[in-house]
Subunit: 339 residues, 4 copies
């Protein structure tokens, strides 16, 4: 159950709502949006009578029990665009194009610094790199773990880049929270609800990737899990869906970008690298992502892709990254001017 609070409710009236909830043996979680406030009620409490009694309280604007729907992520709860600050970047700001770049996996300090050199030289401010790698096979490289996180922290202090890296489970989430600037929840974990709840209790911004077969509602409800726990800083990321298509690894579904911008206040970026799995397609799809209205892109880069421990065939070469930045900035300007 979710209770929308009147914008001008007094502290006392608010306290009355919390008290009414707790009297029923339920938990009240206060959630703050940019310009609105809501209370998430935890526990099973959908008696009609109770709902009616809540609706009579002065602070209550609306009680939502239609439970299959998202609310906190929606424009109704927060009409202005959410801007998520990560390091020096303001993801979701209309005037900024966020570019996140780096290797698929942190393989060694040497390899990671080499890529960071390239990324920093392009004027990019956000660095990605996996320390914990969800791998289809138990026999492939699973990431350097904590050692990888330490290398990433070193990238931050050497290059001033903010760090975005994936957490795979509750244990790694705690470590990522400690070492990185933004916590990524991967596509395979988009409906790992225990992990989402834990991410919702972190104070770090979350990058939530769309699951390979997630509908738009499922994607927004996954974000709702995070917001409902109190963390408002979520950036969504489209990364391709699974279809019958066999010429690219996944099919980038760019239609979600303008739709999410209408339905939700959360920023949405695009990961063309995982969407296609082929280096040569990354640039054109990144251009399309910016043109369609995404707030940024996330791409993989490697200095020796043929030696990469994972996903080498989709990594951009250093010179392609520079070229991409030039192209994306030109398109971002053209879109900004004309829309």
């Amino acid at each position: 159950m979710l209770i929308a609070i009147h914008p001008k409710a007094s502290d006392k009236d608010l306290a009355n709502v919390v008290q009414a909830i707790e009297k029923m043996g339920l938990t009240a979680q206060l959630v703050l949006g940019n310009d609105r406030m809501a209370i998430v009620v935890k526990g099973d409490a959908k008696t009609e009578e109770f709902v009616k009694s809540l609706e009579l309280l002065p602070a209550v604007a609306e009680v939502t029990v239609a439970e299959q729907q998202w609310y906190l992520v929606g424009r109704k709860f927060c009409s202005s665009d959410t801007v998520v600050q990560v390091g020096q970047s303001r993801i979701g700001s209309r005037h900024e194009l966020a570019i996140i770049a780096g290797p698929c996996a942190v393989e060694s300090a040497e390899q990671t610094f080499a890529v960071a050199d390239v990324v920093a030289a392009c004027g990019i401010k956000l660095f990605r790199g996996g320390a914990y790698k969800p791998r289809t096979s138990p026999y492939t490289f699973q990431g350097l773990g904590l050692e990888g996180l330490r290398i990433l922290a070193e990238v931050r202090s050497r290059y001033g880049l903010a760090i975005v890296t994936e957490a795979m489970d509750e244990e790694s989430l705690e470590l990522v929270d400690e070492h990185a600037d933004m916590i990524q929840i991967g596509a395979r974990n988009m409906q790992n609800f225990s992990l989402l709840k834990k991410a919702g209790r972190s104070s770090k911004p979350i990058l939530l990737k769309r699951g390979m077969s997630a509908t738009l509602d499922e994607f927004l409800l996954a974000a709702e899990y995070i917001l409902a726990e109190g963390n408002p800083n979520v950036v969504l990321c489209e990364r391709g869906i699974r279809t019958f298509v066999n010429h690219s690894r996944n099919t980038l579904d760019l239609s979600v970008v303008p739709l999410i911008r209408r339905l939700s206040h959360l920023p949405i970026i695009v990961d063309p690298s995982h969407a296609c799995g082929i280096r040569e397609l990354v640039l054109p799809l990144a251009r399309a992502s910016v043109a369609v209205g995404a707030s940024g892109v996330m791409v993989e880069v490697h200095c020796n892709p043929q030696e990469a421990l994972s996903d080498g065939q989709q990594a951009l070469l250093p010179e392609m990254l520079a070229q991409m930045c030039t192209q994306l900035r030109a398109i971002h300007s053209a879109v900004l001017e004309k829309t």
Copy 2:
């Protein structure tokens, strides 16, 4: 079977190849690309011996019996981009962005001229509108048929717009061939092989839409059917594929655009209207199409979409068409400059 001819083969040597084929009771179809030539052999003739005898002829560069593959549509047969002239447009020319616009269906002379006014005012040169409509239900409006074609012909003479319209079967193809400037083969007919063969014998350019569940190879092989009959003027059109997604009618698969540009010399454009089925998504997806490298877009426009006899909810309003043209031209320039 397909026989690639040496670029410098003499007429006499060429005649020898044809003669050798006909001596076997088979038919030889000569196909000309921009800079190469091939012979398509019709009939069942894949004895090893016969292939070997052909390979010995001086004019023969290569004999292809690996039959599951396209050849004439490929870069190997023709390395330079094919440019298809339709009216004043040169579709596939790097410096031109082709825009095809018009109503889903020709409903009346009045409605059609009203849309043509808008289209011409935007500086667009290609007009679309269906006279023969493939409809899911037998009880919905099936198009005005010949009367519709006559209205379209009138649009050409009044506005100087070139006409693109769909043929649904062999009978309507003959009439469309007579009245229009470009013959569209719709998504549902992409593997109507009898229709493709007939289109291959027309002298008018063909707009071939990708089937809703067609792979890249199937799409190119459908075009190969047309080229193999002697018609080199084919423009491909991505229009969305069928996926699990329920927030838009189809899922636009933009990755085919850069892939087809690498594999094939044929131009490819995008139809964002059918891909999404929602007016508000057409503009952003059209921008993405140009940014990804398409040679043009095809969109639906209606002056009173709420009264349209088909697909009203995806039709652009007149003012949106003008806005789209401005945006697409800005992105086309940005892409042209930076790539």
Copy 3:
């Protein structure tokens, strides 16, 4: 527009309805179901006033203008199961399991007779074999055409087997109509509406295969096209849909079988050969088809699959066909007894 006629309407009252329609310059097509009757109105005539005037006529039970829906194929129009007689088989009869078997393509009289020997020996009464083959590539074997139809007609007279074979276009439909007992419309032509209309004007039963990406409604509406032209003898065939799955050619969607049995009076059978594309999966999937409630199966058989001109890897070997028949009959009996 569709007009349901009162079961006990007099001939005179019926004539009045036809007259009212024709007075408006429209065409009335009378369609007979097993126990009901309807009139399909062709032409654009949905003025409210006209509908109301029709509803006042004594013969009229209901006027349907909600045009996106099927009607004639539904249980509302005809509550009892339609049984389609083909040769000695009664497809759709609860007590009969229809098995259609034969080669993918008619390659020669010899090969066809060899398979017919096997099919007849299994007690099967329906023989399939393609004379016109819709092929993805223009360079692969396209079928023997009329010669193939003559070989099939010879199979009928030699073995007493009824012949099921595909028509690809209007021209071949006429020839198939003349030579075969049942006309197949293939998956790629499920929305070739001109062909469906022509099939609706034939007096032969139609086997309509589901398109690779057709929804249930689209499938039923394709059948509606045939019934609306006056041919009530349609058998539906599920043959697999296109999904992300890469371990079999298509994914058999058996859920349509019980759904169609509830919604429609038309019989539905299953083609497991095209659904999977792998010989070893045909038997288990055929068993599943009978268990789920299909009225029959259609399978491909070849005596030398490694030499088949098409789809050899999915053809059953002769001994597998016999084994399949034994298994299917046992399951059919078990289902018949317990449901």
Copy 4:
């Protein structure tokens, strides 16, 4: 890396292999199949030299570094069918048909016992019911948690039914391990690799459901994760994949059943309830599952489905469960006799 051990290797030779691995700073995990043995090497160790040195050891049959492939789940590692004992059931035994039935969620002791009455009366030995529910929305009923597990334990002691229930994360896995007889890993967690590893260290059998968009290889590799940690008792479960189809919740992909039986020694069962989401389709799809060769089915039952807290519309009514058991046993006998 994975090392297959010679069936007749001596203990001393085996110890030498372990020693060689540990000397490199790596970990050796011994895995026992029914008739073979393997060592999983953890850590990054794919130098050619090291592999060669291992291959020279007498106990080593084969070293596999082709890491994208499953091995322990395959017929090569274990040719005979794995039979997983759960309570009195032997899942995977050719002569037994495993039926798992129960409510979607444990809602109360009362509701659970009412369903258990029905299940036990049908002669079923395996009881399902969710105490931890992965829910798309944060606002819907999330399960009774530990209280639910205690109710399930009570079902076991009252009715002698073995308990199958889902674990959602590492914490709930420990509790489920303690209270239930079989641990279910749900579709959304099929690639929650941390959870799979933890399940691999449990001594309880695991029911692993296929992810909604998992390929066959991904499904088998998820099971490989469990086996590679030392737990050989895994039962696979097909539960429908996500496709464009909108007439049922998911599309049951029965082709995986015969394929997995050829490729893997692990038992596979089918969940038709989640596959279709519609009560009326459960019976026919359950019949198809048994006919295709599955070792069992899992279905949802509820005594008052209209009041169910989750998935009520797919729950069988008590009388349907009895009917299903009769039908499935008849088909199982027919298949057993004829194959």
